[in-house]
């Protein structure tokens, strides 16, 4: 599956995450986080899990994390992708 439209989900408030997805030829994941040094790898793994689950092959996924827990990150990513029309 490919991301064909732009979409966002989440907020920039503390303990939340703002996810932006855009069309892109390759699959790119960009991560910014207040806890980047501690958890960048975990965040990336969480995002990848959702991408695998939904079968996303390409698109630019930008994560601006404000300290969200795992399930929040996954829910936000899933919402953004589905908003981008990626559930077909």
């Amino acid at each position: 599956m490919k991301i064909t439209a732009n979409a966002v989900a989440g907020t920039l408030e503390s303990s939340d995450v703002y996810v932006k997805v855009e069309p892109c030829d390759t699959l790119e994941i960009e991560i910014e986080s207040v806890v980047y040094n501690q958890f960048a790898d975990d965040i990336k793994a969480s995002v990848k899990e959702v991408l695998d689950e939904l079968g996303v092959e390409s698109g630019r996924i930008s994560i601006n994390d404000k300290g969200a827990i795992d399930c929040v990150i996954q829910a936000r990513v899933e919402t953004a992708i589905k908003r981008a029309g990626g559930n077909k």
Binding site: N6, A7, V8, T11, L12, E13, S14, Y18, K20, E22, E30, E32, V34, S62, N64, K66
Partner: protein, 347 residues
Amino acid sequence: MDFNGFYEEFGEPFSGRKRRKLIEFLQKAELDYDEQIEYSVNLVDGDGEIVATGSLHQNVLKCIAVSEKQQGLGLSARIVTLLMNHAMEKGRDHLFLFTKPKNLLMFSDLGFYKIIQTKDVLLMENRKNGIQSYVHALSRPQQAGTVGAIVANCNPFTLGHRYLVEQAASRCDTLHLFVLSEDKSVFPAEVRYELVREGVQDLKNVFLHHSSDYLISSAVFPTYFIKDKSKAADANCELDIRIFCEFFAKELGITKRFVGSEPFCPVTNAYNQAMKRLLPDYGIELVELPRKESGETAISASLVRKWMAEGNYDGIRTIVPETTFAYLCSTQGRMIAQKLAEQEKKA
């Protein structure tokens, strides 16, 4: 709606009493309300007083302020989120943000990256290395030699533009020609670009580009599109010129910028004067070429538009290239002429 005990108010844009209240609030934060604003968000407390605000003009976030008493609660994050979501709904994904230089860190946290700053203004965008990757991807020859540049709207492309490009191209080895991408002119951006492409394709050392959001766009040079005489003096063009120098000129090795002399438009004239002052700081020469004249009048795109409104196609034929003339006579071209005639009638 409720956020931390504050109510959210939306205006597209605000008018009347609410607008006056917002202007007052911004004044306290030493900001001027921008008349071009299309969408505003306020957070309001139980007494109806504004505690935080932010606004959107096309793809530009501006006039963001939080009352002094309520700082540190993350209200600006809420405002920026709401503005970004609204912009995204409108299909605008490349966003810019105007603020004061002291707010750099705060907005960096919200996913914005610095493009450039002057003494009082900081311009940011929501793409990491956005401008760097843009200028890096511009096409250019391997052997550049002396490099010149022209930035023009070409609304539409005339023999005057053709003359300027020819003259400039003969004075350097490589000429980069940027056609404004902003869709604010009566000729659509794609049409303007196409007409220029057809009109200069025989000049081998000319490289044509879309100016994108970074040159003379509503993000970097909002007043350009107002064209109001009273505002010409304070046309806020320094940002635009510095972006041209810092990013475009450095990346492409531009040492000359060509402009046509500007007898008509006060804003363009102020812009040229500002370039004369600022470009030498970066080792770039501003070359002002006299306009080509046809008979007694200087050729200009505004003259073409005037004649289109009047239906003077014999006149137009003498001052535009054949490619442009063919477009003007097409159905699309006739529709634009009609629109111009209606505008003229209203004025």
